[in-house]
Amino acid sequence: DTAVSQTPKYLVTQMGNDKSIKCEQNLGHDTMYWYKQDSKKFLKIMFSYNNKELIINETVPNRFSPKSPDKAHLNLHINSLELGDSAVYFCASSQARGTDTQYFGPGTRLTVL
């Protein structure tokens, strides 16, 4: 059973389009995250949700909007895609904030043409 899953694995789209990435965890964790890993492999936090509530919103353009319909899901919607949005996006979850191990999904490689 996959602990943290993301769909799609690859996403190729044109500039200006709107797209969504879905994430689900079956670990019963309270906290979920979205990270962006750019071409230089730097992994940077974007958002964190705890029990469906947004607790971290790093400096991210407001074209990015996370949505958590329930504790097990955290989706990422991106409006008006730009070339610079091309990256790998990882979803992760942890039992709680702070000291807990984070479990990562397989990543979604987004390419904006």
């Binding site: 943290v4 230089k40 492999k41 730097f42 992994l43 940077k44 936090i45 964190s48 607790i55 971290i56 790093e58 990882f90 992760a92 904030r97 702070g98 000291t99 191990t101 984070q102 479990y103 990562f104 999904g105 397989p106 990543g107």
Partner: protein, 112 residues
């Protein structure tokens, strides 16, 4: 400004040797530090966690040290194998911050 630095160059070692990876940080007071492994095309996988009051942690062939005076963590893989080839990321959770901050990672290549 806060920084987490890992060896920027890839580390090439021969099978059977001990690999040592470095994680240095500045302007942080980490409560704990974690190490993750990332294979190409996959998400990071947790390996070890060490807290600020711990000097050393071991798990099978892995050993992590944490020196808060030097502001450094060392990650060792003993009797390295080609299957250990991957990128290793350090991440720290600092007091006053609400996120886990990752370094850029060091690529380890173990040749047979």
């Amino acid at each position: 400004s806060q920084k987490i630095e890992q060896n920027s160059e890839a580390l090439n070692i021969q099978e059977g040797k001990t690999a040592t990876l470095t994680c240095n940080y500045t302007n942080y007071s980490p409560a704990y530090l974690q190490w993750y492994r990332q294979d190409p095309g996959r998400g990071p996988v947790f390996l070890l966690l060490i807290r600020e009051n711990e000097k050393e942690k071991r798990k099978e062939r892995l050993k992590v040290t944490f020196d808060t005076t030097l502001k450094q963590s060392l990650f060792h893989i003993t009797a390295s194998q080609p299957a250990d080839s991957a990128t290793y990321l350090c991440a720290l959770w600092a007091s006053g911050y609400s996120t886990l901050t990752f370094g850029k990672g060091t690529m380890l290549l173990v040749s047979p």
